[in-house]
């Protein structure tokens, strides 16, 4: 183990000093922040520049008292004014490219329930939706004019709503919105860890392959055993992955907290469930790291790898196929099958557990057992392949050779 740690430190140090690693380390969160803010900033700046000038023709004098107060809570980018001009006069008084609306609230229109509004070419399409907010106060006004009491008016305007309430032992069950977030945040964090360490895990492949190419493994193996070297690489790249998560969080977390300041993110993050999710991510890493370190020892020239090796490189991305079915039904057949396949299991479990209210503990138990068994098996096979493969200089190992090493 001491020797493995020496190798781990070395792999960590030499990658941390590597320029391309540093650039990708810093660039990823910056790009994330950029993509998260840029569209909002761009659309936001549009809103600030051009509010919709809403001119209300209000011969009955209902706007200021009866309607406008309803709109004060809605976040509308309107600039309203009451006018006495006719639509034609209003049109003549418009500037070019002005985003404006003429709203005719005359008595006839009110009583018939057919209100006409005139727009310019630059009026945003969203106005058609926003103007529906006026329906409720106007309907109420109509009912008031018809002589209904306040209770009767309330009965008509409120209509009937269906409120779902699930029976559950949990006290928090009533507040489903909060509960969902409480699950998704630790899930997203574990997913980030899995993504980061699997990505750095893929660097193990390169590291093992490069060691072969640079013919340095025999010198290294004169000081330690192949399993020390293999373990060291797995540990080193794990540290690297965790450093990556740390740096990403350090840069992105203040931004996320600022951007979503309505939610107590930190409170939702540090929950007991997080521990299990992280354990799943770590087991997933061990599986892929073992796979890549073994595979790297069979490849000297990455440009001439076989289809078989290419397919293994794609394995960490296999859960992507299952995202759709899992989102539509986290307990569906695809989700359950994905939970039991070792290569999709970590990502699928993290996704499902982030979505599910009630965790399927039996399934989790079976899946974890399969996963741990697979890690043990893959580590064993990778060890055998690594031991011989890392010293096979000058060519890529064929499938036949790999099978022979495994059987030996």
């Amino acid at each position: 183990m001491r020797n493995s740690l020496k190798v781990a430190r070395w792999e960590f140090k030499r990658n941390v000093k590597n320029k391309s690693f540093i650039i990708s380390l810093l660039l990823t969160p910056v790009l994330f922040i950029l993509f998260a803010t840029l569209p909002t900033l761009l659309s936001g700046s549009g809103d600030d520049a051009e509010p919709v000038n809403v001119s209300v023709s209000d011969p009955s004098g209902i706007w200021a008292e009866q309607i406008e107060p309803y709109l004060s809570n809605a976040d509308l980018n309107w600039e309203t004014s009451v006018v006495t001009a006719s639509p034609d006069e209003w049109r003549d008084g418009l500037d070019e490219d002005e985003s404006a609306v003429y709203l005719a609230l005359d008595e006839a229109a009110l009583s018939e329930g057919q209100i006409t509004y005139y727009t310019t070419e630059d009026t945003p399409d969203s106005f058609a939706g926003e103007v529906q907010l006026l329906a409720a106060p106007l309907q109420q006004l109509n009912l008031q004019n018809a002589g209904l009491s306040a209770e009767q008016m309330a009965a008509v305007t409120n209509g009937i709503q269906f409120n779902a309430e699930e029976l559950s032992d949990s006290e928090q069950a009533a507040d489903t919105g909060v509960n969902e977030l409480a699950r998704i945040i630790p899930g997203a964090f574990a997913g980030l860890i899995l993504f980061s360490i699997v990505m750095t895990g893929m660097m193990i492949f390169q590291s093992a392959s490069q060691e072969k190419k640079e013919k340095v493994s025999e010198i290294v193996l004169s000081s330690l055993t192949p399993s020390d070297l293999m373990q060291g690489k797995i540990i080193g790249y794990f540290w690297l992955g965790m450093l990556q998560v740390g740096v990403w969080l350090l840069i992105a977390l203040p931004f996320v907290i600022w951007r979503f300041n309505d939610f107590p993110i930190m409170e939702y993050l540090f929950v007991p469930e997080l521990a299990l999710l992280i354990v799943i991510a770590l087991i997933g890493y061990l599986l892929f790291a073992a796979l890549f370190v073994g595979l790297g020892a069979t490849v000297e020239d990455i440009s001439s790898t076989s289809n078989f090796q290419g397919m293994i490189m794609m394995l960490p991305f296999s859960p992507l196929i299952l995202i759709g079915p899992i989102l539509s039904d986290p307990n569906g057949l695809a989700a359950q099958v994905g939970t039991y396949i070792p290569f999709t299991s970590p990502a699928v479990m993290i996704m499902r557990l982030s979505l599910l209210e009630e965790w399927p503990w039996v399934e989790i138990g079976i899946a974890l057992a399969i996963l741990v068994l697979s890690v043990w098996l893959v580590m064993k096979l990778a060890g055998k392949i690594f031991e011989v493969g890392i010293l096979l200089y000058g060519k890529n190992a064929s499938m036949g050779e790999i099978m022979k090493w495994v059987r030996s």
Binding site: E214, K215, V216, E218, I219, V220
Partner: protein
């Protein structure tokens, strides 16, 4: 006689159905340079890799004196493999310190030694550059430093001179000698017979996995280094074979090479040469280690011995 550092006893190894080592045995002593010789494919690297624990022999023992049976004191061994390289995009000093760390050698001392060796090998000021910025020869010097940075008690060098220019060969030769003088036990495999002849205290020559010659350099020279006589002139091969002390004759066109018995007294033999031999040019030389090697590599000595056995 110097203390034994390593004993290799009856080493056997097969790959698939082919046996590549047959009962190879030898000792490596402290303060001595032992040369492991043999043509390509003789089993030198297999022997060395077995000593290093990189390959497992099918039979035989490897004993590091002062260590428990079957234990390889990796931190006391320096190893320069035949197929060697270094991490390309890492600073030289970082690589050297990493190898020292792998051998549990103190970092501060390793740094001092690294700087002093870099200076000695003409690489002063190169500690912060990466290997890819150095020439191949310079890279080999760094590899050599990496193998001795931790002051090994046993140094194993597999083809240390391959790819080196004559100046660098001299530098390496002098350094290897110096290490031996300071008590390091050295086992080296090489093809450059002249260098081995100048440096080695002992040699073991293997061919097709079998030990064919072994002993101290003096013993081997005494046993094998006899004379050969080259005669230019038209002569009958069978007639040349009848001359006393001639063990073998090689003839091509009008050049005949007579290999002579080691008990030969040269002056007397020349005086007694038959007078009817046609001699346009005549030369008498010592057989060098190089020729012994060529002889062994091309199976001629073995063939001659076999002929004698069944004659």
């Amino acid at each position: 006689m110097s203390e034994i550092a390593l004993t290799v006893q009856s080493l056997q190894k097969s790959f698939k159905d082919q046996q590549v080592l047959h009962d190879v045995s030898f000792n490596v002593r402290k303060g001595e340079i032992t040369a492991l010789l043999g043509p390509n494919g003789a089993g030198k690297s297999t022997t060395i890799r077995s000593i290093m624990g990189i390959l497992y022999p099918d039979h035989g023992t490897i004993k590091f004196h002062g260590e428990k049976e079957g234990q390889i004191p990796k931190h006391k061994i320096g190893y320069l493999p035949e197929e060697r390289g270094l991490y390309k995009n890492v600073k030289i000093m970082d690589i050297l310190l990493y190898f020292a760390e792998l051998k549990d050698y103190p970092q501060k001392k390793a740094k001092e030694r690294a700087l002093s060796y870099l200076k000695k090998f003409g690489l002063e000021g190169k500690d912060k550059v990466s290997i890819e910025e150095l020439s191949k020869g310079m890279g080999q010097k760094v590899q050599f430093i990496a193998s001795i940075i931790h002051e090994p008690e046993l140094l194993i060098l597999d083809e240390p001179f391959s790819g080196l220019d004559p100046v660098s060969q001299e530098v390496f030769k002098e350094e290897i000698r110096e290490l031996a003088r300071n008590g390091t036990a050295i086992l080296l495999s090489a093809h450059q017979m002249n260098l081995v002849e100048e440096m080695a205290d002992r040699l073991i020559m293997i061919h097709k996995g079998r030990e064919v010659i072994s002993g101290t350099m003096d013993e081997v020279k005494r046993e094998y280094a006899s004379f050969k006589c080259t005669i230019h002139g038209l002569n009958d091969e069978n007639k040349l074979k009848t001359i006393p002390y001639v063990t073998r004759v090689e003839q091509q066109d009008n050049v005949s090479v007579l290999f002579l018995d080691q008990n030969l007294k040269a002056a007397e033999w020349i005086r007694k040469l038959p007078s009817d031999i046609q001699i346009e040019e005549f030369r008498l030389d010592r057989i060098s280690l190089h020729e012994i090697f060529i002889d062994v590599a091309s199976d001629r000595t073995l063939a001659a011995e076999e002929e004698e056995k069944y004659a």
